[in-house]
Amino acid sequence: MTQNPAAQPGNGEPELTDEPQFSIDTVDDAAATPQTELPWAELGLKENEYTSIGEILGRRPTAAELAMYSVMWAEHCSYKSSKVHLRQFGDKVTDRMKQDLMVGIGENAGVTDLGDGWAVTFKIESHNSPSFVEPYQGAATGIGGIVRDIISMGARPVAVMDPLRFGDIDHADTHRVLPGVVSGIGGYGNSLGLPNIGGEVVFDSAYQGNPLVNALAVGVMRHEDLRLANASGVGNRVVLFGARTGGDGIGGASILSSESFDESKPSKRPAVQVGDPFAEKVLIESCLELFHNELVEGIQDLGAAGISCATSELASNGEGGMHVELTNVLLRDPTLTPGEILMSESQERMMAVVTPENAAAFEAVMSRWNVEYSWLGEVTDTERLVIDWDGETIVDVDPRTVAHDGPVYERPYQRPSAQDALQADSFRASAGGENLPATAEDLGAAVVELMSSPNMADKSWITNQFDRFVGGNTALSQPDDAGVIRVDEESGLGVGLSTDGNSRYTYLDPYAGAQLALAESYRNVATSGAVPMAVSDCLNFGSPEDPDVMWQFSEAVRGLSDACQQLEVPVTGGNVSLYNQTAGQPIPPTPIVAVMGRFDDVSRRTPSGFQRWADGQAIYLLGTTADELDGSEYARLRHHLGGTPPQVDLAAEKTLGEILINASRDGMIDSAHDLSQGGLAAALAEMSLRFGVGSRTSIDQVCERDGVDPFTALFSESQTRAVVALPRSEELRFTDMTTARGFPALRLGVVDAESGGIEVSGPFEGSSFGIGIDELKESWSSVIPSRFGAPQDPA
């Protein structure tokens, strides 16, 4: 609560009295001593990059300038390897896709018009490396970071989601990482009072040593509350507020996220940040009050690259100049050098631009919320970012060269030589594809085996550690197809969100795999009844310096951007996470795609499970089934990965989406579930497991119409399919709608609330099999608890 760090004792932090033990490298020094060699390689810069910094400045950089360039030009912040490909997301946006887009790619998060004066902003980001190093804090600060992106757009965060990828469920390191990540997400998100409404959990030994922890946050605002990150208005003042700056996370963006793990590199400072959700909560509320009272001109959260990023981005997005005195930064550790202060990734900080007239009102809000702040400097018209240390200039740069004009690489890429052989290795022709289940007994056993595998098993041990309902606006959450949040309590206006990504498909064909990730996410949102509107993506890949990985990346971006154009949903932002590899072994390409959709009224949402009161309702299968088992969950059970992923048909996907949305809006259907991993077998099992309500179905007609055997009908992962349950009184209206749209629909059977079992008949030996829901539930729900024990207290 002071502008002067010397005027008041540290806010709970030990006040060290040691004088800083370093000499200051000023701009004048840099000009006078051009020969001085700086440790650019240790900061993660390449020689050509260091040379080009010298060319931009016309002299050697100062130590502080070098620190700024090194973090801002790191892969994580500059997108230097991915930029040339990511352009496609912007290039392929049509005018029609822009219709509801208020803010597109490039800001902290994209903003979509929801109607009635409401806008929604959402974004997904990675926090993979920090979560591997320190699972609890890594995952916790992942939530903190993405939530601050949402605040900085002017929105109130309303929910989070977490797509997670871990190594083998039985590997010792998974037992170190998973419990920490799960309680970190719960510990931070629950403390903030944000419901966690979905995500996914996948176990695959390909993520051993490189787990993926992605985090999505969604926020809502009134149109007039929209804020952007720019520093405009000469003479306006620049303020840093929130937590103090400490030595945590220095070099996180440049070293940790932008290089492969290498055990031989010791680091002087820990690259781990510790989060404080209660400080973040106060930051959220104080920012919303600032927005409401129109007290800030521009605002930026401090995430990767800390003050370096905030000052250079605010300055270059505004009128181009800023003058800052760095000794005004409130420190937790007074021994930090200027370079360390510029690079620190201490959490829960924000930077804002405030007019001199509003300064007193700004201070009043800060003291009301008990938030520390310090005025750092002001906006200038010099087009230079000038940073002083005790009156001496240590940084004098064109902010655009730091924030936007970083290096851009056209990394070489080529189709891996093994790709053809991989695609030729189909499941049917493999050893695992022999003697597939064909009798009633074997097919029934296969369904139980599938549902008891780690990836299909009940995830509630994990999701129960997250608060799903806090705030009272959650209409659907895990394990339903999409998370649904009410935005307007009077009209019921709301949003549905889903995140999806199948790295097995993407590994077999990155172009199609990325499209399938979008298609599934789109389908999930539509299945819940929401109209898909916008996309955010988190692209997790290996090292861009590996041409095979770069090919996977370029194909995935091309596939995803083409698919967005066809489905008419724009990408509004996201994140690229490269260098996800350990000991030269990259993770499988994992684009995670989040789709956000709109509900006129969330009370019209369609849940995924058969309802207990819905006895006798008709069950329909929408879409057709082909022999598509390559990359499937069943193939995973047989330890096979090869061939080509299921066909993508985006036009059909759109039609299916319209059917599901209309059926929800008109109240025709009472449950709906999309078909994805595990195919029809998994969908029927999940719909029954949800509320313990059984079904009686027949796959005779599926086999006959589509020309597939019973095994294929049950386990194929053909896309663009969904199962719905509806009252018999609605059957005619529903089938009229599917017929009118030329979309295939087959009546499979009925909901049977009394039987307590899943009964499936078909053209196989024994003619029908039945699975008791209680027994299935027993094995399905014990997979994760049997490995990880009782959930720990998420405190």
Partner: protein, 87 residues
């Protein structure tokens, strides 16, 4: 029975939200004069019989590998408690 006391503190450069919360609360009780609080952990390991160098070694190993998180915490001491002979 002798007890070995292990003390663990958050590393000095790491944020300690609990300590910070306590420091902010102290003035509300009228307890001024403290410029900082950091909160650590204390473990008591009870030993049957004599504390040999071997037993201390395994306590040190427990402290480093189980009782502390070396990424964010330091073990500041592993010592036999002088006057704590209760089980």
């Amino acid at each position: 029975m002798p007890t070995i006391v292990v003390e663990v503190m958050p590393k000095p450069e790491i944020l300690d939200p609990q300590g910070k919360a306590i420091a902010n609360a102290l003035p509300h009780l009228g307890l001024t004069g403290f410029t900082g609080v950091r909160q650590g952990k204390r473990f008591e390991l009870t030993v049957e019989g004599e504390v040999t160098e071997e037993v201390l070694d395994s306590a040190r190993k427990a402290a480093a590998e189980m009782l502390s998180n070396p990424v964010i915490e330091d073990v500041v001491s592993v010592a036999v408690a002088e006057d704590q002979q209760t089980a």
